[in-house]
């Protein structure tokens, strides 16, 4: 394991809740290179022959194991694109924690574009957590453009938690998913933008199999002059259930564009979308003030609760 700098350690703590080397399999990437890796009897991690990323293979039937693959960038002007493929064996039950932290104190833009593909075999269960975090006060931008592709075999399930709360200047997140019979996908996105940040979030989920389901829910807060676009489309091509929801708090001079959409290709597809954008309700602030908080503290509690 390469010795990490204090900044890198802090970034890893932010994106993966890790304060020390985790148990189980992991792959740490720092400033474009490998900083540490561990494999287990059931989880193998190999670099792709062309060096473009890693393959993570989880054996069928692996239960209660985890994989951490945090990425940190602490040099200014670094731009990288990484391809990571996850092969999740049948009937396994695993947690995967990815995340990217960028600290940019310099004047050049730093960018990490991670392309993650998940091949979830029959009956497998995956919990995936992806956190983004940026820090540093340089003029260079912190940019993250993740692409996630999910291919779900019969009766598999996946829960994705996507979090970006602080410090990323520009992000364009694209998530594509295809589900076979009985598969289920749950996505919980939490996003906060501030300053002049821009965040685009695009989902396209296709329900091909009977009994498949998808629930894509985003909660976001846009502060200052930031811009957000949430564009989620659920396509129902079988007897399936799909739901997408975008619930946003707008503050200051923020802009939020919510475009939930549905496409039904089967009479048995039950699809629902919802979107709501509004400011913090005055009565919520008043209530918390009667409990002794000042206006600013009340606002913070409301936002923290909303994004929790």
């Amino acid at each position: 394991m390469v010795e990490l700098t204090e900044i890198q350690k802090r970034l890893i703590a932010e994106v993966a809740d890790l304060h020390q080397v985790p148990l189980g399999a992991y792959n740490f990437r720092a400033n474009g290179g490998l900083a540490g890796r561990n494999t287990t009897a059931n989880i193998d991690i190999q670099s792709k022959p062309d060096g473009s990323g890693i393959d993570i293979r989880i054996k069928p039937g692996t239960k209660n194991e985890s994989v951490h693959i945090p990425v940190v960038l602490s040099e200014t002007g670094l731009k990288e694109t990484v391809y990571n493929d996850f092969f999740i064996g049948a009937d396994s039950d695993v947690t995967i924690v990815a995340g990217c932290g960028i600290d940019n104190c310099g004047s050049q833009d730093s960018e990490h574009d991670g392309i993650h593909r998940f091949f979830v075999e029959k009956g497998a269960k995956v919990k995936y957590v992806e956190k983004h975090y940026g820090s540093g006060d340089g003029l260079g931008k912190r940019i993250l453009n993740p692409v996630t592709e999910v291919y779900m075999d019969e009766d598999s399930s996946m829960e994705m938690e996507m979090v970006q709360i602080k410090g990323v200047d520009s992000t364009e997140r694209t998530t594509l998913a295809e589900l076979k019979k009985g598969a289920s996908l749950v996505v919980r996105e939490r996003l906060m933008t501030h300053g002049e940040q821009k965040a685009l979030s695009v989902y396209k989920v296709t329900l091909y199999g009977d009994g498949s389901s998808a629930d894509v829910v985003s909660r976001s807060v846009a502060r200052d002059d930031s811009y957000q676009k949430f564009d989620a489309c659920i396509i129902g091509a079988a007897s399936c259930k799909g739901h997408t929801e975008c619930d946003s708090i707008i503050m200051d001079r923020g802009t939020i564009l919510a475009v939930p959409s549905l496409e039904a290709r089967s009479v048995d597809a039950a699809l629902v979308h919802e979107a709501a954008i509004g400011k913090i309700a005055g009565e919520q602030i008043t209530k918390l003030m009667t409990l002794g908080l000042d206006e600013h503290e009340a606002e913070e509690e409301i936002i923290n609760g909303f994004l929790a």
């Binding site: 909660r219 619930d247 309700a281 009565e283 919520q284 008043t286 209530k287 918390l288 003030m289 009667t290 409990l291 002794g292 908080l293 000042d294 206006e295 509690e301 409301i302 923290n304 609760g305 909303f306 994004l307 929790a308």
Partner: protein, 243 residues
């Protein structure tokens, strides 16, 4: 002790003319007392409650708490000086949990066991509620009790309850009366003001004040005032068939 001196409050109506809701009102609430303020709809009861909590600012007059003038204080300052306020319609929050509200109310790092104590005082099983969001998934009666639990967690010098019976079913209301009765027995060095025109709440008061057109038209002990109110809009009973 709460003292209200010459308090007036007016708003502009649609024509832009001043409409006075509270007229030069005087009122005193001694320590260790439960005062119920009743009166017909539109008499200014809820406005008076909001003026005490600082949610509305008076046009003239003074409000004193333990001799200190709090008229110019914000909602937050009043809360920090010991005024508690339970809303008529409890506010719903997406994401904020019942525990969070109790933590904020207590103003300290609250232990789960302490939070559970407050919930059991209002008759809720803490295990079922403590980690639930204080959102629309809770019924009116549940939210009302949580609202009261947050006020209990604050341990105020003076607590104002604005129409605690509003928006809840009869079943919950009967439980609520029991909660207030228990609270009544526990007040020491503090006082409670309940805005209500429900007979059963009037019945647990030490004192009753009647508000009409923004003026106190009668004030005295329960035994003195209560008999004069029976059968009027100021003392409503629940539907006879439900008795």
């Amino acid at each position: 002790m709460l003292e209200i001196k010459g308090l007036s409050f007016s708003v502009k109506d649609e024509k832009g003319e001043n409409k006075e809701i509270i007229h030069e009102l005087d009122l005193k609430v001694e320590d260790n007392r439960l005062l119920v303020i009743t009166g017909p709809n539109g008499s200014g009861k809820s406005t008076l409650a909001k003026l005490i909590a600082g949610i509305e600012k008076p046009t003239s007059g003074k409000i004193l708490l333990d001799g200190n003038d709090i008229t110019e204080m914000s909602i937050t300052e009043r809360a920090r000086n010991g005024i508690g306020f339970a809303f008529q319609q409890p506010v719903r929050f997406k994401g904020i949990k019942v525990f969070d509200l109790l933590r904020i109310a207590s103003g300290k790092k609250l232990k789960v066991s302490e939070a559970c104590g407050y919930l059991s005082e209002v008759g809720l099983c803490a295990r079922d509620y403590i980690m639930r969001e204080a959102n629309s998934s809770l019924s009116g009666g549940e939210l009302k009790r949580i609202e009261i639990a947050t006020v209990l967690a604050r341990k105020c010098r003076l607590t104002v309850f604005d129409e605690p019976e509003a928006g809840i079913d009869l079943w919950s209301f009967q439980n609520l009366i029991r909660v207030f009765q228990a609270l009544r027995e526990k007040i020491s060095d503090s006082s409670m003001v309940i805005i209500s025109h429900q007979e059963r709440i009037l019945n647990i008061a030490d004192e009753i004040a009647v508000l009409s057109d923004g003026r106190i038209t009668a004030k005295g002990s329960k035994d003195e005032i209560f008999p004069t109110l029976i059968g009027t809009e100021a003392a409503q009973d629940v539907c006879a068939r439900l008795k």
